[in-house]
C-alpha cells in the first residue's frame, strides 16, 4: 500500500481524494497554483507545493512541475482526479518512467479510449452496439454528406479527440452539415489539438445511461450499476441519479455485461465509465468510455456502499478487488445536483467571487462534497463546480424529497449558483415521473422557465 500520494488536482475532487487517503493512513501532498493558496485541499493535505501561476497550463497541466513536486516530496503514487491530466496518456507514461504509480488505467487504455473513432472501432469488434456513422475521420464534404444520407438526418458532427460534450454540432440537413464541419474542425483543433471529426446518427431525445466499472490488475472486472445523467445543459451534466428510472433488472444485466466487455476489450484497470445512449424504443448504443473517476461517482457510492476512490488506490497498489459481480447490489436511490457558480438567469455566465456565507444542508440522507467555505474567493481560472449535493433515500421519491429539503436549506451567498434551477427541476412533475430526455433542460430554458 502507498505511504504517500500526490493529488494532481484541485477543488472538490482533490478534497475527496485527500479524505480517502487520510482514512487509509496514506500521507498526502497537494499541489496548488498561486490562485489556490487559500484553497481547502491545500489546508487538508499533509504537505503542499506551489507548482505555478494561476492558469491551468502554468500549474495543474504543468507536467514537469507536478512530476518535480512528486519527486521532491518522494511520493509513491499520483492521483490525477478528473479533468486536467487524468486522461493524458503522456502524463501516465511519464509517471511510469519516473517510477511513480499513476492511480488510474494504463496509458494505453487512456490513449485508446481517448480516440473516439478507435474506441468505436474496438467496441464494434467486441460486438458492442455503436451508433451508426462514420468509422473514420471525415475526409471531405462529400464524404460527410454521403455518410449523412446513409444513416439519415439528424446527424451530429463530433471531434474525434474530443469529449465532455465539447466540439459537437447537431445537423438536420446538408447545408447545416457543411457549416458544422468547418466549425467543428476549427473548435476541435483549438480544444483538442486535432482537426479530425466524424459524423454519427443523432438520437432524438435519448437518455444518457453510463455504467461504472471497476477492474483490478489481475483481470477481475465488475460493474457497479448505472447512472442516469440525462439532465444536461449543452451536454454538461447537471443532475445524476443511480439507479436509472428507465433501466430494469434485465436491461441492467444486459448493458452491464456489455460494459464489462468494453472495459476488458480496452485492457482496463481501475475505475472507469462506459457511456451509452438509450433511445425510446429500448435500443442502446455505446458512445464513449471515460478513463477516470467521474464527478458523479458519489451516487454509485451511495447505492453500492463502496468508496470508489479507495478502490482506485487499492487496485493501483496491486490489490485484488476481492469481490465478484454477484456481490454487488444496488440498494436505495441516490441523486446528485451539481452546484455551479453560474447564473441560470443570465445565460449561465460564470460567477467567481467571494463567498460570504456558506451553510451546507445536513441530516439523514444528505451528503455534500465541496471545497468552499465562508470567506473563500472562488477564482475565475477553473471550472465552476462549487459543491455536489447528494441525497440518498430508500426510494426515488424519498431521495427527491430529501433533495428538495436539502436545496431549501443550502445557504451560499452572495454568488449566483444553479441552486434555484435545481429547485425548479425537483418540483417538476416530469422529473418526478422520471420521463426525461437529454434535451430536457434546454427545452425548459427555452420555454423561459430557467429563472
Amino acid at each position: 500500500m502507498f505511504s504517500k500520494i500526490l493529488i494532481a488536482n484541485r477543488g472538490e475532487i482533490a478534497v475527496r481524494v485527500i479524505r480517502a487517503c487520510k482514512e487509509m493512513g496514506i500521507r498526502t501532498v497537494a499541489v496548488y497554483s498561486e490562485a489556490d493558496r487559500a484553497s481547502l485541499h491545500v489546508r487538508l493535505a499533509d504537505e503542499a507545493i506551489c507548482v505555478g501561476g494561476p492558469k491551468p497550463e502554468q500549474s495543474y497541466l504543468n507536467i514537469p512541475a507536478i512530476i518535480s513536486a512528486a519527486e521532491i516530496t518522494d511520493v509513491e503514487g499520483i492521483h490525477p482526479g478528473y479533468g486536467f491530466l487524468s486522461q493524458n496518456a503522456h502524463f501516465a507514461e511519464i509517471c511510469a518512467s519516473c517510477n511513480i504509480t499513476f492511480i488510474g488505467p494504463p496509458a494505453q487504455a487512456i490513449q485508446l479510449m481517448g480516440d473516439k473513432l478507435a474506441a468505436k472501432d474496438l467496441m464494434r469488434k467486441a460486438g458492442i452496439p455503436i451508433i451508426p456513422g462514420s468509422m473514420a475521420a471525415v475526409r471531405n464534404k462529400e464524404d460527410a454528406l454521403k455518410t449523412a444520407r446513409r444513416i439519415q438526418y439528424p446527424v451530429i458532427v463530433k471531434a474525434a479527440a474530443g469529449g465532455g460534450g465539447r466540439g459537437m454540432r447537431v445537423c438536420h440537413n446538408d447545408v447545416r452539415l457543411i457549416s458544422a464541419l468547418m466549425t467543428c474542425q476549427a473548435e476541435a483543433e483549438a480544444s483538442f489539438g486535432s482537426r479530425d471529426v466524424f459524423v454519427e446518427k443523432y438520437l432524438e431525445e435519448p437518455r444518457h445511461i453510463e455504467f461504472q466499472i471497476l477492474a483490478d490488475s489481475l483481470g477481475h472486472t465488475v460493474h457497479l450499476g448505472e447512472r442516469d445523467c440525462t439532465i444536461q445543459r449543452r451536454h454538461q451534466k447537471l443532475v445524476e441519479e443511480s439507479p436509472s428510472p428507465a433501466v430494469d433488472g434485465k436491461l441492467r444485466r444486459k448493458m452491464g455485461e456489455l460494459a464489462i466487455r468494453a472495459a476488458k476489450a480496452a485492457g482496463y484497470v481501475s475505475a472507469g465509465t462506459v457511456e451509452f445512449l438509450l433511445s425510446r424504443d429500448g435500443t442502446f448504443y455505446f458512445i464513449e468510455m471515460n478513463t477516470r473517476i467521474q464527478v458523479e461517482h458519489p451516487v454509485t457510492e451511495m447505492v453500492t456502499g463502496l468508496d470508489l476512490v479507495k478502490e482506485q488506490i487499492r487496485v493501483a497498489a496491486g490489490e485484488p478487488l476481492g469481490y465478484k459481480q454477484d456481490d454487488i447490489a444496488l440498494e436505495g436511490w441516490a441523486i446528485e445536483c451539481r452546484i455551479n457558480a453560474e447564473d441560470p438567469s443570465n445565460g449561465f455566465s460564470p460567477c467567481p467571487g467571494r463567498i460570504t456565507d456558506y451553510q451546507p444542508p445536513g441530516g439523514r440522507g444528505v451528503r455534500v462534497d465541496s471545497y468552499v467555505f465562508a470567506g473563500y474567493d472562488v477564482p475565475p481560472f477553473y471550472d465552476s463546480l462549487l459543491a455536489k449535493l447528494i441525497s440518498i433515500g430508500t426510494t426515488r421519491e424519498e431521495a427527491i424529497r430529501i433533495m428538495q429539503r436539502a436545496l431549501d436549506e443550502f445557504l451560499l451567498e452572495p454568488i449566483r449558483t444553479t441552486i434555484p434551477l435545481h429547485k425548479q427541476i425537483f418540483s417538476d412533475p416530469t422529473f418526478w415521473r422520471g420521463q426525461l430526455a437529454t434535451n430536457y433542460i434546454d427545452r425548459k430554458l427555452d420555454a423561459g422557465e430557467g429563472e
Binding site: 496548488y32 498561486e34 487559500a38 506551489c50 505555478g52 514537469p64 519516473c98 470567506g375
Partner: protein, 161 residues
C-alpha cells in the same frame, strides 16, 4: 447574518491588534499574516525611507516579518530596495554546479545580470538560474539540496542603483 458579520469583524480587529503589538515589540515596518482565509498586511508609512520589498510566506498561518537593517544574514543593509529572486519552478536547489565544487555565489558577493546563481534540478535535468539584477547578494534563503516550490524566495539582492 448580522451576528456572523460582527464575529468575523471582531476576528479581524483582534488579528490586527496582535499584529500591531508584534510590529512594535520587534521594530518591524511591515508584517503580513494569514489566518483561516483572512490575509492582512500592515505597512508603516516611513517618509523619506525607501520601502522594503517583502515577499511573504503564503499559505502558512505564521507571521512573516522583515525589519530594516536586519543584521542576521550578515549583510549591511542601510535601507533601500531589496530584490528577492524567487524560484521559477519546482525542484531541488543546489548552490554549486557539483557536490565538491565551490558555490556559484556567496553572501556579500557582487552579482551581474545574467550571472548563474544556482541550479534547480527537476526530473533529472539541471536548470541554471540566472540573475536578472546586478547588485550585492544580501541573503541566501535556502540550503543546498533542499526542495523548493514555485515562487519560493531564494536570494535577497541589494541592487546597484
Amino acid at each position: 447574518m448580522e451576528k456572523r458579520l460582527k464575529a468575523s469583524e471582531r476576528e479581524a480587529f483582534r488579528l490586527i491588534e496582535e499584529m500591531l503589538q508584534l510590529m512594535e515589540s520587534r521594530g518591524l515596518v511591515e508584517l503580513e499574516m494569514e489566518h483561516q482565509g483572512l490575509r492582512i498586511r500592515l505597512k508603516k508609512a516611513t517618509p523619506g525611507h525607501a520601502p522594503q520589498v517583502v515577499e511573504y510566506v503564503a499559505g502558512v498561518p505564521q507571521p512573516s516579518a522583515t525589519a530594516p537593517g536586519h543584521p542576521a544574514e550578515g549583510s549591511a543593509a542601510e535601507g533601500g530596495h531589496r530584490i528577492v529572486i524567487k524560484s521559477p519552478m519546482v525542484g531541488t536547489f543546489y548552490r554549486a554546479p557539483a557536490p565538491d565544487a565551490p558555490p556559484f555565489v556567496e553572501v556579500g558577493q557582487e552579482l551581474e545580470v545574467g550571472q548563474v546563481v544556482c541550479i534547480l534540478e527537476a526530473m533529472k535535468l539541471m536548470n541554471e538560474i540566472k540573475s536578472e539584477v546586478a547588485g550585492l547578494v544580501a541573503e541566501i534563503l535556502v540550503e543546498s539540496g533542499a526542495p523548493v516550490e514555485f515562487g519560493q524566495p531564494l536570494f535577497v539582492v541589494e541592487p546597484r542603483s
